[in-house]
Amino acid sequence: MRVAFVVQRYGTEIVGGAELHCRWVAEHLAERHQVDVLTTTATDYLTWRSALESGTSELNGVNVRRFPVARERDIRRFDPVANKVCFFEHTDEEERTWIEEHGPVCPALLDYLRGHEGEYDALIFFSYRYWTSYFGLQVAPHKSILVPTAEHDRVLYLRLFRSFYRLPVAIAFNSPEERILIERITGNEDLPGEVVGTGINRPSSVPVGEVEARLDLLGDYLVYVGRIEPEKGCAVMIDHFLRWQRETRANVTLALFGRATMSFSENAHVRLMGVVPDPEKLAAIARGRALVMPSRHESLSMVVLESWMMERPVLVNGDCEVLRGQVLRADGGLYYRRYEEFATALDLLMGEPALADTLGRQGHRYFEDNYSWDRIVEKYERLLQMATRGGGRG
């Protein structure tokens, strides 16, 4: 079968989120099918500035076709229209302007799709909110699968996505909560779909025994992995953690792995570890007491899955329905909504190591049962069969 993935950015230099999810799925499907990835030359999701060569290349068994971004995002034009469509009464025309300003505007990719869609048996679009998916999926919807990676934010309520969500032949959801959310907002319950998610690629070796010395991480610590920014709930998490640390005088460190885009004062208890290679990151998770995920908006947290892969429990933001649902289904950690719950949950995880270990093991079993690559690929095969049959449409 010949399959094309369409995604806004692609490559080993793109860390986290939907793009990594897309790359891993593409690489695993490339073991069974001929896979092309159609993407842009951008690496920065804020500006869409072209940073890579356009043309064709090969990456881990996948044929990558990059197309140039026609124009960078202009924040002076984008911000006002984003504010308008998200928070004020607005017109359909303003929503169309929003998708153009949101980008990445890539007409060459669209032209390629129009000219070559007949060569592919199925098209898989990642992330509903980008220009590439919005216009690309309209080229051959009868053989298109959408992986929305939708979060509960105001963009999902835009009118232009209601009809869009009825177009694909099937949808690959990241979680049952994402499915309920999308079906409620767009009213597309009759469209076939399956909760799929993603597996996690485990490096050949994870240096658990060496990570303490390598990263100078001694004693008990909690781990956060991801972009360190207020939108991800990091400011509140650090505030809660420092308040808990002051109240309990516990000798515990919060180790933050990732790129920081917000300022915060590092001290003996809050340490910025920066971006480290995957094996070290996983080793640090395995050695830590628990992983904290403070984001309110997630369609699927890959770091939560990584934590369970390493048999460690998680402490997640209960205001995020997806994270709360995942934790309850897996019995793999605790959740909080307010400081009092955060503090009491931390008291338990730090005070009862055996309980934390059991929650981690339960999370691991859930991960193995639902997110092994065999299970994920099996689900994608079912969706691809649907796409090749055209979902009963012409």
Binding site: K84, F87, F88, E89, T91, R154, V327, L328, D331, G332, G333, L334, Y335, R337, R338, Y339, E340, E341, T344, A345, L348, E352, A354, L355, T358, L359, Q362
Partner: protein, 163 residues
């Protein structure tokens, strides 16, 4: 650890969370309110102020929502309540005039929107702090009453010993 383990050997997260919430409720009984409860009490207080002022209920629900779509915007839709050809003419006329009007109104309206936002946050935060202080005050008064009650029998005992 055993207290969390069910008969099937699994730890039930829903049960742990129920216990955590129960523990927090116990703290509230001692006058220690959660942030969420302070928010609820603040919202009730703001609602009471608004009721007194007789604000339009639709506007009030917008003011209480976490977004800012209650605020004035410089960009308005050109409409008319008229119908037919006359309406088209009026809309056209308004659209023609709008750039000139906005030349004079955009700046003060933007400034006013910022001031509205600032005052909105100021008032909401003041009410929240007031509620928090009142809760603290009530808890302290209860504690003082409790300590006075505990002290009184002790004084009596001392008096009895002297007698």
């Amino acid at each position: 650890m055993d207290e969390w383990t069910g008969s099937d050997g699994r730890v039930d997260v829903a049960a742990i969370m129920a216990r955590i919430r129960e523990k927090i409720r116990g703290r509230r009984d001692r006058g220690l309110y959660t942030d969420e409860e302070v928010e609820e009490l603040s919202a009730l207080r703001l609602q009471a102020f608004a009721d007194e002022a007789g604000i339009d209920p639709d506007l009030l629900s917008r003011l209480m929502a976490p977004n800012h779509n209650w605020n004035i915007s410089t960009d308005y839709r050109v409409e008319t309540h008229r119908a037919g050809l006359g309406a088209r003419f009026v809309v056209l006329l308004k659209k023609l005039v709008r750039p000139w009007v906005r030349l004079y109104t955009d700046h003060p309206l933007s400034r006013q929107a910022q001031i509205n936002l600032y005052l909105h946050y100021l008032c909401h935060n003041l009410v929240r702090e007031l509620v928090r202080l009142q809760i603290e005050h009530t808890a302290l008064r209860n504690r003082v009453d409790q300590l006075t009650g505990e002290e009184a029998p002790g004084e009596k005992k001392a008096g009895e010993a002297e007698g």
